[in-house]
């Protein structure tokens, strides 16, 4: 991409790029240096603020927070996949009332803030749901609606011949959906589905607002004791970033593998839609929180 925008630099161009590189590095380093110096002046790098993280008790607290985050994210992802599949099928249903209800649910929950939904659930049923229930239910409704659109796009991207062939074999409407369309749609939407997992994992941080003991809330319990808010934020942030990058790498790997498989099947009848771009685009739009 980059090489298309400018010619391969000649001797003068190379000199100019070198000059630009030196200048840009200086500016960026100066900026970073200023931030580090200001933080150092404020005593943010004093060992006192960082030593708590060597304490096994604190490490245990962070681990508990990570477990809380993973528990909420895992349950929400599983539930939202089920809800998403149901809503997607509902929006494609031949029955108008079913279609209408599913459309309203999807559109409403996608156009209001997740936090608003979560807070309302939490405040309406503080006893029955608790903060964990409100967090998971909110995430399920929201992500279920997002996934419903992903699945629906996946089903509609399938070649028409798939459902026609299935009907020709005498399968019923729900068999066509369950046995033929949904499995293929889910498989071709796998990368988009996994990027949605990153979004879900990030959104569990909203549990901080409704006081569910996840990674950030545990972080808060650390920094209100040791007054080391910036070190804590850096440590917690590093955990989130590492986890999410690993999940994204998995999505990339699966994407490459499915493209590879499609290439091998060229010429043979294929079960997968031959449009890898469709799922790439869905993945790109799906990562927006």
């Amino acid at each position: 991409m980059t090489s298309v925008l400018y010619d391969p630099p000649g001797p003068r161009g190379r000199r100019r790029i070198l000059l630009g590189t030196v200048l840009a590095s200086l500016v960026l380093l100066a900026g970073a240096g200023w931030v580090v110096k200001r933080l150092a002046d404020q005593g943010q790098f004093e060992p006192v603020l960082w030593e708590p993280f060597k304490d096994p008790d604190i490490q245990h607290t962070i681990a508990l927070g990570a477990v809380g985050t993973l528990k909420a994210a895992g349950l929400a992802i599983v539930c939202s996949m089920v809800v998403g599949a149901v809503l997607a099928v509902g929006r494609l249903s031949a029955h108008r009332p079913v279609r209408l209800v599913c459309t309203v649910v999807v559109e409403v929950s996608r156009s209001i803030p997740l936090l608003l939904l979560m807070l309302a659930l939490f405040l309406a049923y503080p006893q029955q749901l608790g903060s964990f229930g409100a967090l998971v239910l909110g995430l399920t409704i929201y992500n279920g609606s997002v996934l419903a659109e992903v699945f629906r796009a996946g089903i509609q991207a399938l070649p028409k011949g798939q459902s026609e062939a299935a009907f020709a074999l005498g399968l019923r409407k729900n068999q066509v959906m369950r046995l033929i369309l949904l499995p293929q749609a889910i498989r071709s939407m796998l990368p988009a589905l996994i990027s949605q997992c990153v979004v879900t994992l990030k959104d569990t941080a909203l549990g901080y607002v409704i006081l569910y003991p996840e990674l950030l809330s545990k972080g808060k319990s650390i920094y209100i004791t040791y007054f080391n808010i910036i070190p804590t934020a850096i440590v917690i942030g590093a955990i989130y970033i590492t986890t999410n990058i690993l999940i994204s790498k998995l999505a990339e790997y699966l994407q490459r593998r499915s493209e590879h498989r499609q290439k091998n099947q060229l010429g043979k009848p294929t079960l997968m839609p031959l449009d890898p771009l469709a799922s790439v685009e869905a993945a790109a739009s799906g990562t927006v929180t």
Binding site: A233, Y240, S248, A284, S285
Partner: protein
């Protein structure tokens, strides 16, 4: 219902605060995001590295954590500002990464021949981007950019937890005072957000149709 009638003035003000927060953040994050996108395709390696590093880090960090860092971290850097200002900064820092990615993938959709033709005419990198690539990319990115802006608007809700009196915070207050009326209050606020988000996507769809027709 009575709660809503009694408080409609302050509810409206809270939604105006939400709109103001989203609008200001939108302007800032569009500027920062475009700069980042240019950095990511520029011939200068440290800028490319900075651009991609920024995007990777910010995209994988929860917005709540960005808020904590900005709201509590900026004063440490000696930058003071109201909660509102800091909320705008947090939202812009976060959304700029998404804007950058949308713009960059928009540039990738432009056929390579366009950029090559511009180069053949002797245009520089800056002219190429400004006169040939960007005007076409902007049209291609309008729909995904709209989703980013809608996400931004919904994300302003998080400012509730950081001292900004916007709509979600108002709902929080009202429900805590009138626990019996939670359903009508929730419906009113959900409707308020829906009017804004669906309105925004309608306006963009209308604009796209008009642009396509002309």
């Amino acid at each position: 219902m009575q709660v809503l009638i009694d408080n409609w003035g302050s509810i409206l003000r809270a939604f105006l605060e939400t709109l103001e927060l989203a609008g200001l953040s939108a302007v800032v994050c569009l500027i920062v995001g475009s700069l980042l996108a240019v950095m990511r395709v520029s011939p200068i390696p440290p800028l490319r590295l900075f651009g991609s590093g920024y995007v990777t880090i910010v995209r994988n960090t929860p917005l709540v954590l960005v808020f904590i860092l900005v709201v509590h971290g900026l004063p440490e850097l000696g930058l003071k500002g109201s909660f509102f200002t800091r909320a705008v900064i947090a939202l812009s820092v976060y959304t700029a990464a998404f804007v950058c990615e949308v713009l960059r993938s928009g540039m990738l959709t432009i056929p390579a021949g366009q950029a090559e033709a511009a180069r053949a005419l002797g245009m520089t990198f800056g002219q190429n981007l400004r006169l040939v690539i960007m005007p076409q990319a902007v049209r291609a990115v309008l729909p995904p950019l709209t989703s980013v802006m809608i996400a931004l608007l919904k994300n302003t809700a998080i400012a509730e937890a950081f001292g900004v009196a916007e709509a979600t915070g108002k709902m929080d207050d009202l429900v805590r005072d009138h626990a019996d009326a939670i359903l009508p209050i929730f419906i009113a606020f959900a409707a308020g957000y829906m009017i804004i988000t669906l309105g925004l996507s309608r306006i963009v769809a209308w604009y796209e149709r008009r642009a396509a027709a002309s």
